[in-house]
Every structure is written in structure tokens, then in C-alpha cells.
């Protein structure tokens, strides 16, 4: 090895960006093609510094746009090696065309997405608009709620994406600023543990195997396109979840840290549950405990694996609750909200009688306060008491002006 290992303390104080950069270093990426954008920039800056200091080997290609970043990642991945990058918001939006190309070509690229609002109006802060934009792109999507998880889930991402039975790219999401720029204690793996977990990259259909030329990115029309897309969906629905579970199990064995498709908190006997993603999960957990002291049996379900969406695990987690609040941190722009819709889809045709209502919150980095969540839990409880949804189905919380509610 022509690079140096890094001695880490058992617990380092890292923000989400640096935690992700450290995970990339330990996974020993072969090619990073990247372009800067707030708030994900420090991930690739961190990686560039590791390279400059001799802690990693490989190629860091500073391209001229996010579209080119993913294009370069696709070319590098097809050539045969470990590939990663990071982006946010507008950069993610610019990448969208290539996201579909990467997944359709079955290339195991890892993309750290530091979630941020989409313009207009321009906004650099965290919400889930970009994450939602990627939801039909054929990628696996994992969601971190804090820097520790941003670190851990990168190892999971490579492990799953590069599995020869999967061969799909994977995003690791974290909330812009609230996770990416908030330093917390992060329990580390040693360099040997981290690299040992993901293992040496095993190429497949690699262009650089000069004795076995391959053609990547063919044309298929009505005769074959549907079969390719259907197979990709089938693999997401059937193959990926067991592989993620296996990776979670192996990671728990290595680190003691346990991950699940959905993260249940105080759900054993919960009457009312909030379902949300990102940093809001942690806020909701605190509030749930407070509500329990006041006699409301509150629980939280956090989505860990956003794609493939864990329909069965969601339905199971929510089977006994009486009221559910689906929290969407993205403007639904004329619809009910992504999480609301997915939950409705997961619960319909089940035995649940739970009342489902949707909340839109936190756009452009607007705080979701504990007070908001207290009111929300109380509202869910009053729905339970009344035996029906007492409000309109969709409400905006934390927005100025007259109360906004629809449906």
C-alpha cells in the first residue's frame, strides 16, 4: 500500500460531511468525480485533502458540473472499480438524467446526497425536495439522521451496491446543515475494520478487462426496454432488501450498531405515531417521550431505507396504532405528500383502522420545533378520541400567515 493509514480515536467529533468523507477514505475509492455545491462540498473537499496528505490513493476528478460528475462516475464504474461522489439540491437536479443512466446500466456507484431545498426561490438549507426527486431513479436510497449514521451507512451502501446479485447504485442521504454541519460524537471503525467490511472491489463486465470487451449502454426500444426496466424493479423489490438486511446484520456484528429497514421507537404500545425522515426522527423521539409522560402513548417510525420502500415493515410497524401523522419535508405541489401517499399505499388492504393525516413542514430549512410536534401528537390523539380525522387531511406546519390546510 502506497498510502498511510489513519489512527482514529474510538469516538471522534465529526459533522455529517466529514463523517461521510472519512467513510469514503476507509472504503478506498478508486475514482471520485465531483463538483462543489453547498452543503455537500466538504465531503469531496475532505476526500481531496486525504488524497493530498497521502491517506488515499486513486483519482480525484474535479469536473465542470454535477452532470459531468455523475457521467464521469458512470464511465469509471463501467471501467471497473469503486466509485463515489457527493452532491445536493440543484446539483442533484442537474444529475437526474445520469442517475437513471447509472442505475439502468447497473453500476454500483455511491452518492452522498446532503439534502437541500430546490429553487426557486434559491435556498441553501435542508429539506427533502432533492431526496424525493431521486425516488423513481432506480437507486437504493438510505437515510441517515445524524453524523454517526452518515458514516455507518456509507459502508452499508458499498456492501449492498457492489454485491453481484444487486449491482445497483446507492444514495446515502443526510440533512443539509442539521446533520452535515453539526458536529457530534461519532464512533469509528479502524481503517482495517472499515475496509475489511466492504472488501476489495470485485469487478463485473469491466471495460478495462481488455481480453473481454463489453458494450455498455445499448439501445432498446419496445422490444426489450420494458424487460430491462421490469428486471431492475424486480431486483429492487426482491433482491435488495435481503442484502440490506444481511449488511445491517454484519455491520451490527462488527460495530454493535443496529440498523433496520424502518426504525421503530416506542412503538410497542403506541396509539399515535409520527412517520418521518432525517433529523426530524430524533426530535420526534424526544417529544414522544415527553408526550408519554402526559399520558399520550406516542411513538415514532423513521424510514431508514427509502428505496426500495419497506412496505411490509411499515405496515407491520404501524399495524396496532390508531392514528398516524405522515411528515413530508418537501412541497407536494398539488398532491398529498410523498410519505402520506406511500403510507396510504402500504396500509390500504391491511387490517388497520388507523387514521392517516399528512403534515408538510420544514421547507428550506425552517425549524421543526418540539412545540410543533407536541401539537401534532395532541392532534393525532384527538383524532383517536373522536374516531375520525378532525382536521383537514393535509396541513402545513411552521409556515407564516393564515393556517394552510387542504383536502
Amino acid at each position: 500500500m502506497a498510502f498511510d493509514k489513519m489512527e482514529l480515536r474510538d469516538i471522534e467529533v465529526w459533522d455529517g460531511n466529514f463523517a461521510a468523507a472519512q467513510a469514503l477514505r476507509q472504503c478506498q475509492i478508486d475514482v471520485v468525480a465531483a463538483y462543489p455545491i453547498t452543503p455537500s462540498t466538504p465531503i469531496v473537499e475532505g476526500y481531496a485533502k486525504f488524497l493530498a496528505d497521502g491517506y488515499v490513493e486513486g483519482e480525484f476528478v474535479m469536473v465542470e458540473s454535477e452532470h459531468a460528475a455523475m457521467s464521469g462516475c458512470i464511465g469509471a464504474a463501467a471501467a471497473g472499480g469503486r466509485v463515489a461522489t457527493a452532491t445536493s439540491s440543484q446539483g442533484f437536479a442537474l444529475m437526474v438524467e445520469t442517475l437513471y443512466q447509472a442505475s439502468g446500466m447497473r453500476l454500483p456507484i455511491v452518492l452522498n446526497v446532503v439534502n437541500r431545498a430546490l429553487a426557486a426561490p434559491l435556498n441553501v438549507n435542508g429539506d427533502h425536495s432533492d431526496m424525493y426527486l431521486g425516488r423513481d431513479s432506480g437507486w437504493i436510497q438510505l437515510d441517515a439522521y445524524n453524523p454517526q449514521e452518515a458514516y455507518d451507512l456509507n459502508f452499508i451502501a458499498f456492501k449492498v451496491a457492489e454485491d453481484h446479485d444487486v449491482r445497483l447504485p446507492c444514495m446515502v442521504h443526510q440533512d443539509g446543515f442539521m446533520t452535515s454541519h453539526t458536529a457530534q460524537g461519532v464512533k469509528t471503525l479502524t481503517d482495517d475494520q472499515g475496509y475489511g467490511f466492504v472488501g476489495e472491489f470485485q469487478p463485473m463486465n469491466d471495460m478495462l478487462d481488455l481480453d473481454h470487451p463489453v458494450t455498455h449502454g445499448v439501445q432498446t426500444e419496445e422490444d426489450w426496454h420494458f424487460e430491462h426496466k421490469a428486471r431492475q424493479h424486480r431486483d429492487l423489490m426482491l433482491n435488495v432488501t435481503p442484502k440490506i438486511q444481511a449488511a445491517f446484520d454484519a455491520f451490527e456484528k462488527l460495530s454493535g450498531r443496529k440498523y433496520n429497514m424502518v426504525e421503530k421507537y416506542e412503538m410497542e404500545d403506541a396509539d399515535v405515531a409520527v412517520v418521518c425522515m432525517g433529523t426530524s426522527v430524533e426530535t420526534a423521539r424526544e417529544v414522544a417521550l415527553e408526550m408519554r409522560k402526559e399520558g399520550i402513548k406516542a411513538g415514532v417510525v423513521g424510514i431508514r431505507v427509502y428505496r426500495p420502500f419497506p412496505f411490509m415493515e411499515i405496515a407491520d410497524a404501524l399495524k396496532n396504532v390508531k392514528a398516524i401523522g405522515a411528515l413530508d419535508r418537501s412541497s407536494p405541489n398539488g398532491a398529498a405528500g410523498m410519505l402520506f401517499n406511500e403510507l396510504a399505499g402500504a396500509l390500504f388492504n391491511t387490517d388497520t383502522k388507523a387514521l392517516l393525516s399528512g403534515y408538510v413542514y420544514g421547507l428550506g430549512g425552517r425549524d421543526l420545533t418540539k412545540a410543533h410536534l407536541r401539537d401534532l401528537y395532541k392532534e393525532l390523539q384527538s383524532n383517536v378520541d373522536a374516531g375520525k380525522v378532525t382536521t383537514q387531511l393535509q396541513q402545513f406546519i411552521g409556515v407564516r400567515g393564515p393556517k394552510l390546510a387542504f383536502l
Partner: protein, 318 residues
């Protein structure tokens, strides 16, 4: 060390092993396949190739078939150059890390794209690849039109050409803008090698391809590709039209080394009037109406001026 072919004659060249198969869906008379074969046949080295979306791509990799006997990738319309740049980066990374499967072989990286995918939508990606200094070659198959989508104008479409989005009509002579000077723009990146090539001058072309493939860093090749469908000529006349393009100096052949050293590589013994080149193609037919004949005169003046400029640059070595 790069292994370049020593080719004595056209017969030997045309019968050498193909890594681009004749089994493809390109139009009869399309110059794309001629150019691609000439590029690939110029070297015995391993090749990692890309094509941007366009005629070449849709006609050579229709699942479950491929015309390519070398590793090949297509991503999208604009990013074929960056696909190859990514592969070249992976090659360098794996070389450093000692993980190449055939460490003794040094593949060449070549991206093919049409003028739409190079002059227009892929312009930024190519510029990025040239600026970053990847050891790769970008080859433009310049047929001066969006042929794959049915003949819309690109920024390579010359003045007076009738394209479907700049059609000649009762009150229009067709395309109003002059062709973008892509070779100069790319040479201005300071890249080691940029050149214009034409498939009829195959020895000149092979020499330039070999030069481009032998340098460390990027090379840029602009190849004129006569389009029987959109230029509107008989498929058997592809080479005749191409001869008219080079011999009228509408498409001069030259190279620019290190961004400044310009060499003209072909001087026609008998310069053909531009009018003959225009008259041979349906896309310029309307220019021969009385009211547009001044445009033919302007065409000739523009070609003369460009030729004079190239000669001045060659003499001045700047």
C-alpha cells in the same frame, strides 16, 4: 509504447482486422462508418471507446447486438467524452493501485460524437475533458446537422444550408449563422493535438489519428462526415462529395500542435470552386436561385479568407 500500424496502401488498410463490424444500421453511403474504421484501424492498441447519442450510437448497439469488438460505452447525448474520461481515470487509479488485469497493455481512450453532441449539447463536457488533460481523443463525426433526429440545424450547420429547423422557404435561404470554428476553440485549450481530417484523405487521417493517440493528454479530431440523407446526394457519391469539400477548401485539412503550431496538411493541386461543392448537394439547391446567388459569392470569399488566415498562421507559427 503505442503500437501504430504501418500501412502501405489502401487495400492493406481496408482489409485489416475490424474492431468495428460492417453489421450495423447506418445508412448506405454514410461516412460515419468509414471514419470510425479509419480511426480504429490506425492502431493495434487496445481501445476503450464511447459514443454519444446519435446516428453512430443508435445504429451500432441495438440490444442484443453490438458492432463493437472493443469495450464501448454510451451514456447520453452530451457526456460521451466524460464517460471515456471517467474510464481513463479508472485506468490510472487501477494502474497506481496495481489492480489492472493486463498491466502490460496500455489502452487508448476515444470518444465519438456527432457535431450536435460536440458543438452544442456536449460542448461543456468536451471542454472539461480537454482542460483537465485526460489522455483521450475526442472525434467529431461532423455532418453539420442533427441527422439522427431528422435534420435540424446545429451550430456546425453552415450558412445557406436548408435544415428542418432553418428551412429554405419563400422568404428564407435557410441557415443564417456561420459554422462554429470548433477546432480553434479546442486548440485554444492548449491541448497537445487538434486536427481536421477527412475520410477521403485516409493517409493524412491515419497520420493524424496516430499523432493524437501518441500524445500524453487530450487530442481533438474534427472529421467531415458527408451525410447522404441530410445533405441530399446519392449514396454512391459520398467520397466524391468529400473530395469536393477538401479540394474546394470548404473543409481545409490542418493540425494545431500544443494550441499554437498550425500545419496545413493538404494543399489541393487544383482548387475547385466552392460553387461546385454546393451544387452537388440538395441542401444548397435553393442558393442557385437568382436572388440568392450573392450567397455563393460570399461563400467563396469566406473560404478564401479562411484559407489565407490558415496560411498566415502556419507561416507565423503562432
Amino acid at each position: 509504447m503505442s503500437e501504430m500500424k504501418k500501412i502501405k496502401n489502401l487495400k492493406e488498410f481496408s482489409t485489416s482486422a475490424d474492431r468495428f463490424e460492417g453489421a450495423n444500421l447506418l445508412c448506405p453511403g454514410c461516412a460515419h462508418s468509414i471514419i470510425v474504421r479509419e480511426v480504429l484501424n490506425a492502431t493495434n492498441d487496445d481501445l476503450i471507446l464511447s459514443a454519444s447519442t446519435g446516428c453512430l450510437e443508435v445504429c451500432t448497439a441495438v440490444y442484443p447486438y453490438t458492432s463493437w469488438d472493443a469495450s464501448w460505452i454510451h451514456i447520453g447525448f452530451e457526456n460521451g467524452s466524460t464517460a471515456v474520461a471517467g474510464a481513463e481515470s479508472m485506468y490510472k487509479a487501477l494502474k497506481t493501485k496495481g489492480r489492472l488485469k493486463q498491466p502490460d497493455r496500455k489502452p487508448k481512450f476515444v470518444s465519438f460524437a456527432g457535431d450536435g453532441a460536440s458543438y452544442d449539447i456536449g460542448f461543456q463536457w468536451i471542454s472539461g475533458c480537454m482542460e483537465r488533460g485526460h489522455t483521450m481523443m475526442h472525434v467529431v463525426l461532423d455532418n453539420e446537422v442533427y441527422a439522427n433526429t431528422g435534420g435540424q440545424r446545429s451550430s456546425s450547420t453552415p450558412i445557406g444550408s436548408s435544415a428542418t429547423t432553418s428551412p429554405a422557404g419563400r422568404k428564407s435561404y435557410g441557415e443564417k449563422k456561420n459554422k462554429k470554428d470548433m477546432v480553434s476553440i479546442m486548440a485554444s485549450h492548449g491541448i497537445p493535438y487538434a486536427a481536421q481530417v477527412s475520410p477521403n484523405k485516409w493517409k493524412d487521417m491515419v497520420k493524424k489519428i496516430q499523432h493524437g493517440l501518441s500524445v500524453e493528454g487530450p487530442s481533438f479530431i474534427n472529421a467531415i462526415s458527408a451525410c447522404t440523407t441530410e445533405w441530399k446526394f446519392d449514396p454512391k457519391d459520398t467520397m466524391a462529395i468529400t473530395d469536393l469539400a477538401t479540394d474546394s477548401l470548404v473543409f481545409p485539412l490542418y493540425e494545431i500542435i500544443d494550441g499554437h503550431e498550425l500545419n496545413i496538411t493538404y494543399r489541393p493541386k487544383n482548387i475547385v470552386p466552392v460553387e461546385e461543392y454546393l451544387a452537388a448537394q440538395g441542401r444548397f439547391k435553393h442558393l442557385f436561385k437568382d436572388e440568392y446567388k450573392y450567397l455563393i459569392k460570399e461563400w467563396q470569399e469566406r473560404v478564401d479568407a479562411k484559407w489565407a488566415q490558415l496560411q498566415r498562421r502556419e507561416e507565423a507559427r503562432v
